[in-house]
Subunit: 153 residues, 2 copies
DNA sequence: GTAAGTGCAAATGGTTTGCATCGAA
DNA sequence: TTCGATGCAAACCATTTGCACTTAC
């Protein structure tokens, strides 16, 4: 973890970005919450626990940089805010997908990547070169499944 | 087409919604552009060609109703605005996916639904009941593919 | 020392809402 | 006639930006 932070710090400097205390805090929060899907505001909340003076704009600016370096993924579950997830340096091909419960809103991850076949097909039939994909699966989680009456979305 | 409009009108009245001229115009635009992915503002633009007095709020309110009735799909390609697509009444299981070009922004649709197997697996291993899914495939379209140097997103 | 980074507050832009008015049933 | 629907403008809210100040290098 301290290790990861050092690696990322080096990556930043390679790109002529400074490693400021604020960026370090934000990175720490992201690294400690790799399994969550934090919004910018949520990240700020966690950062402020240790560094109360940090501003929201800095969070956004840092996320922007990390995103452009491929160090965070950005996703949108339709609740009006973007959510961010730190991406380990060496897991280049790590493609995970999300199960989104329409009742309780819980988001679960699944690791399988069963889409390589589909990607090959898309390339063959459309000439489209795939660099990434995003699969969201909507439905009802185990707890909510029996009660799924109301919405017929 | 006139036919579809009548069907939808009936559906609306079944739910105690009125079929106003504004809603009719909005529906017409949606039906005539089923293959596009229009934003609310774009829909308004097309509606205004025939009914210049319609307001943006009405478009949003109508889309909200149609969405709640499952008559339009809503999607987000990450450009900060939601995009809407009319869904034919009888095509309940119509699952199409999107190829999004990172260079020119063009969005292509693919019809194949190769995810049924994955859905079954998700149910078995997680107890998650799938009602819908959304697959976005990012990459470079045929025209942009050779030039894909710069971003390494 | 200096350009990059920061915090704050103001601006932006898509979407929503309050309200007085209008009109479909 | 009546309550839902509309248009307008204001409100909202996540994100971005301008700017004077600070700081990592």
């Amino acid at each position: 973890m301290e290790n990861i932070l050092t690696q990322v710090g080096k990556k930043l400097r390679d790109r002529d970005y400074k490693l400021t205390p604020q960026r370090e805090e934000i990175l720490r929060v992201l690294i400690e919450n790799q399994d969550k899907h934090l919004s910018a505001e949520e990240i700020l909340g966690l950062v402020k626990e240790k560094a109360p003076e940090v501003g929201l704009a800095t969070v956004y600016r840092t996320l922007e940089i990390l995103y452009s370096m491929g160090l965070v993924h950005c996703m949108d579950f339709g609740d009006g805010r973007k959510r961010y997830e730190f991406e380990l340096l060496d897991k280049k091909a790590h493609q995970h997908h999300h199960l989104i419960c329409l009742k309780c809103g819980r988001i679960e991850e699944i690791e399988e990547d069963l889409l390589e076949e589909l990607e090959r097909e898309v390339y063959k039939s459309k000439g489209f070169t795939v660099t990434n994909h995003q699969l969201k699966i909507y439905g009802f989680c185990q707890e909510c499944a029996p009660k799924k009456k109301e919405g017929e979305i």
